[in-house]
């Protein structure tokens, strides 16, 4: 399997905390990033997204070295836990900004926005403001923006953590469907072992700024020989 994202001997120091990541994430698969809070999950994601620049080492996305590149020059889409949409702009504008950041949109672009909204079950929501939507609907709109961007990598930072458990299930289903259609590489930060089983093909376990384990999901969930991981999996 080709490598989607590679962190080559990446080192970073933030204040007193040190991070060392050296791994390859397979392309076209869903990889979960887990670990205790404060372990460095989000830092890992920030390195890939370009919000942090490594002190040493290299980061490659789809074979291209992006180490020194600005976030906007990296082939990634982002979904956060919250505030994915600009609250004062309607959904069509929010999604349109994913196609063109100056909002210069062609007729085809507008059609693409409507199609993406339809795909996430929000057809006809073009003029709705984010404040009038439920939490789940807002996250689906964020997915729609990721769809229109057509980037090979999707980075998600606990995208379902603010939703209630029933909603998480259906959102996970939607995410899997979209992933099958686009075949993109997905990195999802989560602190929920169930989500690893539900979503991920692979999983990475980070503790104190280091990767302790990278394994296929079934193996990952069965491992009991790493104390920190065992504690994490037992909830």
């Amino acid at each position: 399997m080709a490598d989607g994202i590679v962190l080559k001997k990446v080192e970073l120091k933030l204040g007193t905390r040190e991070f060392r990541f050296d791994c390859a994430v397979p392309a076209g698969a869903v990889t979960a990033i887990t670990g205790p809070s404060g372990s460095g999950k989000s830092t890992f994601l920030n390195l890939v997204a370009g919000f942090e620049t490594p002190d040493r080492g290299h980061i490659l996305i789809a074979g291209e070295d992006v180490t020194g590149k600005h976030p906007s020059e990296r082939p990634v889409s982002l979904v956060f836990q919250d505030n994915n949409l600009f609250a004062h702009l309607d959904l069509a504008t929010n999604i349109g900004l994913g196609i063109n950041p100056s909002l210069k949109l062609s007729g085809n672009d507008r059609a693409a926005i409507s199609q993406a909204l339809e795909r996430v079950d929000l057809s006809g929501f073009e003029k709705r403001m984010p404040g009038t939507l439920s939490g789940g609907e807002r996250q689906r709109a964020a997915f729609a923006r990721a769809l229109v961007r057509k980037k090979p990598v999707l980075l998600m930072d606990e995208p379902f953590a603010a939703l209630d458990p029933g909603l998480r299930l259906s959102m996970a289903g939607l995410l899997i469907d979209l992933h099958r259609e686009t075949g993109n590489t997905v990195l999802i930060v989560t602190h929920d072992p169930n989500e690893v089983g539900r979503l991920a093909d692979h999983a990475i376990f980070i503790d104190r700024g280091q990767i302790l384990l990278q394994a296929p999901a079934e193996e990952f969930l069965a491992r009991r020989d790493i104390p920190a991981l065992a504690e994490f999996l037992s909830g």
Binding site: A49, G50, F51, H70, P71, S72, E73, R74, V76, S77, L78, F80, D82, N83, N84, F86, H88, L89, T93, L97, G98, P101, S102, L103
Partner: protein
Amino acid sequence: MLTRAERRRGIGWGLLSLIGIGLFVGIAIVALLSFDAGNTQSRLFTAYTGRILRFTLLQAVLSTLLSVVFALPVALALARRPRFPGRVWVIRLMALPMGLPVLIGALGLIGIWGRQGVMNSLLLKLGLEQPVSIYGLSGILLAHVFFNLPLAARLLLAALERLPAEYWLLSSSLGMKPFSVFRFIEWPAARRVIPGIAGLIFMLCATSFTLVLVLGGGPAATTLEVAIYQSLRFDFDPPRAIALSLLQIGITALILIAISLFPAPDDSGITAGRATRRFDGRTWPARLWDTCAILLATAFLVLPLASIAAAGVHANLWNLATSPAFLRAAWTSFVIALSAGLLAVLTSLAIIAGRGAVADMKRAGGTARTFSISLGGMSSLVLLVPPVVLGTGWFLMLRPFGDVARFAPALVAIINMLMALPFVMRVLAPALETHRKRTARLSASLGLSDFSRAWRIDLPVLAKPLLTALSFAMALSLGDLGAVALFGSSELTTLPWLVYSRLSSYRTDDADGLALILGIICLALTMIGTAGRREAGHG
């Protein structure tokens, strides 16, 4: 939660403050209305009042516009540069003009922009002929921008910093260019708070007294407040003063109503360069633009302050500070400021007690609720009826009873107290409410007596906000020229009045030296105030 006795006492205190303030303001207004009423009506709309009214509004509109327009790029630059060297100090500097007595600021501005000022000699060297005049409309605008640009910039910056951190991550990941970031993120955030900020600044400029008194020249550049003062003090034309006062109340009432339609701006949430991270504006033109905006604003604020310091040091400070005139004025100012401060704190406590008692009732009837609302309104009544108008009313009221100068210190202290009341309430009301919420149940269940509760539970926690409020109120009173202007004389001389009279008699060296001393006292008091307030905000 309150015992019946406590509730009754709360209502009693509230009622007392309500009647007290109501009487003080009411008598002033009745005095205005009843004085020679027939004559006043014909004076209400004359060419003269029309011209004054037009100028008042014109300068307020222009001042507001300029302050907000120039504050916007400064706020945007500061928001985009969370790690700008010395950013914390720039933000602190922007809080300074609020604590600086207006008269002192005016002196500093004259030092820089005046005829012999640094700026004009510089422009003169560049071949321009006296391009900036500190007197008249341009001077008033310059001074209003000096005092209000930092206020607007701070409030705008707070609004920008309240935006979710994800917005900046998203915008950079989506590849938004600076103009897109402005159009889709920064401007919508600014637009929401600009009406409130503009309303506040318009109010401050429309009722501005000291700056217009010092920098305004003649009838061509006079606002309502200054015209009222001149009508009484120089022309002794009470009907004209009354007509102008009524116009002033009408204008402020209209502005207050307009302001209440917009959300009140606040500068909470302003950070000292906390974790906000921005990934935009990394290009050289953007860096240059931001640096210029911040440095120009800083220079604009620092230069007048530096000029006060420099000119003040040139004056013989020691001789000034030990001169009998200074000592007498300082003592008068201190007594008035302390009385005004204590009175303001006590009145606030009474108002809060009254409102607390009503809030504690299980079924508060219409009367009780009206009572509570009018208590709230009382605390900001001075915004509706400005100090000069209050002074005019009392001046006319007391004149038949002999020399007004005898009552003047008390009047000035009470008017200063009313001016400080809105600020004191804003410090004390939230502090007391939090404290009550934390301790009311426990104190009630322990059955603590009033005295031990006040001594052991309330005072240790509330000492800081009380001190904060007192120092705020005292700084305001110490630096105020508006209330004392009508009554100032050789018998009643406060520090600002002394500075002003030295300035009027062209003894500018003395004025500069005195200004430096007064400025330092007021800023020290305000710093005590803001330090306490910041900590209260964390609790």
